[in-house]
């Protein structure tokens, strides 16, 4: 990039960061060549889901919390189910858990592909958006749309519909798809897997700035599988704990600039969840083709460059297609399609991996089956502090860029993490002051 010199003191204000979900702003203050302040402001109104879950029946959270987000409703449904089942001491059969994983693969595919092709890739070509990208690389966008369609199809067949699936219930599914329903998708899923393999190669060839991060990474881990639908919570700092113990370790605090809570480890350390965390903590559990793609792409197995999340996200699309095909190949419809869950007094925890990162639910139930307390910790509120750290890093290393270039750089740094502001609002405009 040709660098244009910028005045040593300035303010950069972005009052509506594009290609992220929801509304927020970024304010940067640089004085006499020194970075004074970076604030990620989230001004979406709080949504009070946790408050209005109180007093609702124990079977309602999957449907209510799915409405928090149109792009990752399955993440909310799955964490809610696990938490309620934990409270009621029910563990679903493997066949049901596997069908949940298949539904979740659909969500990962459609969310990740949308982000990689329509939101993030244009940044690496200096283009405004996917329309401009389609003008210079029609085939790439067409492939992206095809993959996204297959994610939607999986969600329709397993979940009943592509947005806000209606087939999920505490204990499993209202009905299980037939083997034939799933087999009908196989040929197109294989074609989409080929496109996903190509996509890793395509994004790995982009030019990446040399930025590295040091904050802890946190993700679910699992003995054998790449983490999606359940697991324990591990970090690059070395802990590996239950979802309950993880919630005990994080402190959510309100900061005046944000209607989303900021979560920090032990109340003081910013941390990051999402593709970079999952990739770093689960490299050995990448699916076979995804691992080959990772090796061929040249990405470091301990990569800490947030701009390379586009490679990691693309690898996770490969994972999701491989897993979908594996699950369909071995599929036996669970019969019955759900476990009977009887309410009991207790507290339950559920943690899964939303496309953007770890999502944890906690419910306290009364013996009447009504919810006494609910706590929902979505990925974006966990990632906010780490995103601010990235912004400080990017700005400190690029003080010589002019206002426009630095602003664009900052916006890309935020988009690296695919924040979902509505989910967290409990958030983007950029404002740089010098």
């Amino acid at each position: 990039m040709e660098k244009k010199k910028m005045a040593t003191s300035c303010d950069i204000d972005v009052h509506g960061i594009a290609r992220i979900e929801g509304e927020g702003a970024l304010h940067v203050h640089i004085d006499d060549g020194e970075l004074k302040n970076v604030e990620l402001e989230i001004f979406e109104p709080p949504r009070f889901f946790e408050a209005f879950l109180r007093g609702r029946g124990f079977e309602e959270p999957p449907d209510i919390t799915a409405r928090i987000c149109g792009i990752c409703p399955v993440a909310y449904q799955m964490s809610a189910c696990l938490a309620i089942e934990d409270a009621c001491s029910v563990q679903v059969r493997d066949e049901i858990q596997t069908l949940r994983r298949l539904l979740y693969c659909g969500e990962w595919i459609q969310s990740h592909v949308l982000h990689v092709f329509l939101l993030h890739a244009p940044d690496f070509f200096g283009l405004e958006d996917a329309v401009e990208l389609a003008k210079i690389n029609k085939s790439a966008v067409e492939r992206g749309l095809f993959m996204k369609k297959m994610g939607n199809k999986l969600m329709e067949v397993v979940g009943g519909r592509a947005i806000h699936p209606v087939n999920v219930r505490v204990g499993g599914f209202y009905s299980a798809p037939s083997k034939g329903d799933l087999q009908d998708l196989v040929e197109d899923l294989k074609k989409a897997l080929d496109y996903a393999i190509w996509a890793v190669e395509w994004v790995a060839a982009f030019d990446f700035p040399d930025i590295n991060t040091s904050y802890p990474l946190v993700s679910l881990v699992h003995d054998t599988l790449y983490p999606i639908d359940y697991g324990t919570v591990a970090s690059t700092e070395g802990f590996n704990v239950s979802p309950k113990e993880f919630l005990d370790r994080i402190v959510e605090e309100h900061v005046a600039r944000s209607s989303a809570l900021h979560a920090k480890l032990d109340g003081e350390t910013p941390y990051l969840t999402g593709p970079m965390a999952r990739f770093n903590l689960n490299y050995d559990r990448l699916t076979p083709i995804a691992k080959q793609c990772a090796e061929a792409s040249g990405i470091e197995r301990d990569c800490r460059n947030p701009f390379k999340t586009i490679i990691m996200r693309s690898l996770e699309v490969v994972v999701a297609f491989e897993e979908a095909l594996r699950i369909i190949d071995n599929y036996v419809a669970p019969d019955p399609s759900y476990e009977q869950v009887l309410p009991r007094s207790g507290i339950g925890y559920g943690a899964t991996e939303a496309p953007r990162g770890t999502i944890v639910h906690r419910y306290e139930l009364g013996k009447d089956g009504l919810i006494k307390e609910a706590q929902i910790v979505p990925p974006t509120s966990q990632n906010q502090a780490a995103i601010e750290e990235d912004l400080k890093n990017v700005i400190a290393n690029n003080m010589d860029l002019d206002q426009e270039q630095l602003t664009n750089y900052c916006e890309t740094a935020v988009r690296n993490h695919d924040p979902c502001i509505s989910c967290s609002a409990h958030f983007l405009d950029v404002d740089i002051k010098r």
Binding site: R19, I71, D129, K138, L145, D418
Partner: protein
């Protein structure tokens, strides 16, 4: 061009046709789609109108569409697409407007993780060579967009006229 269709059709609600060269349309495959959310009050007007038009005209209803991006695939082989969406333009609630899609090209719609706006989706379809020969957007001015599945009285009252106007428009194309 700027035609007030309502007076020609005997409807109380006026349809303002903006920039559409209807005479140039000799289409055969026509699809209709309502865009919006039934649970956001007047945002549900588009899908409701599309349902009613599809029922009386027997044309393909490819909606309801909650994510405009989904339209691209469904545009395959289509000559004319009629998209019905609630709008907020400052006109009185219930006002019906028919737009030539080109007029949407300058709209600065945010593209977010949760989807791409209708204008950018149509441009993306065009860039991919998947755009129908003609796309008509019918807008109905909404009043209330909060939570709820009830249309405002003004919009509810305008729906029969909107259906009639679109039906007449489709007849003029065949």
């Amino acid at each position: 061009m700027h035609i007030v269709l309502g007076s020609l059709l005997g409807c109380r609600h006026q349809a303002i046709v903006v920039g559409t060269d209807m005479d140039a349309l000799k289409s055969t495959k026509i699809v209709i789609a309502g865009i919006g959310n039934y649970y956001r009050c007047d945002d549900g007007a588009g899908p409701q109108i599309a349902d009613e038009v599809a029922e009386i005209t027997n044309i393909d209803n490819i909606g309801p569409i909650s994510e405009p991006l989904d339209l691209i695939e469904q545009f395959e082989g289509v000559k004319l697409a009629i998209l019905i969406d609630a709008m907020k333009s400052g006109e009185p609630p219930g006002t019906i407007r028919i737009f030539d899609v080109d007029l949407l090209s300058d709209t600065k719609q945010l593209t977010s993780t949760h989807g791409i706006g209708l204008g950018r989706t149509l441009q993306l379809a065009d860039a991919l060579g998947k755009s129908p020969e003609k796309v008509i957007v019918v807008g109905i001015e909404g009043k209330v967009f909060g939570d709820g599945n009830q249309l405002s009285p003004e919009v509810r009252e305008a729906i029969p006229d909107a259906v009639k106007i679109i039906d007449q428009f489709i007849l003029s194309q065949s």
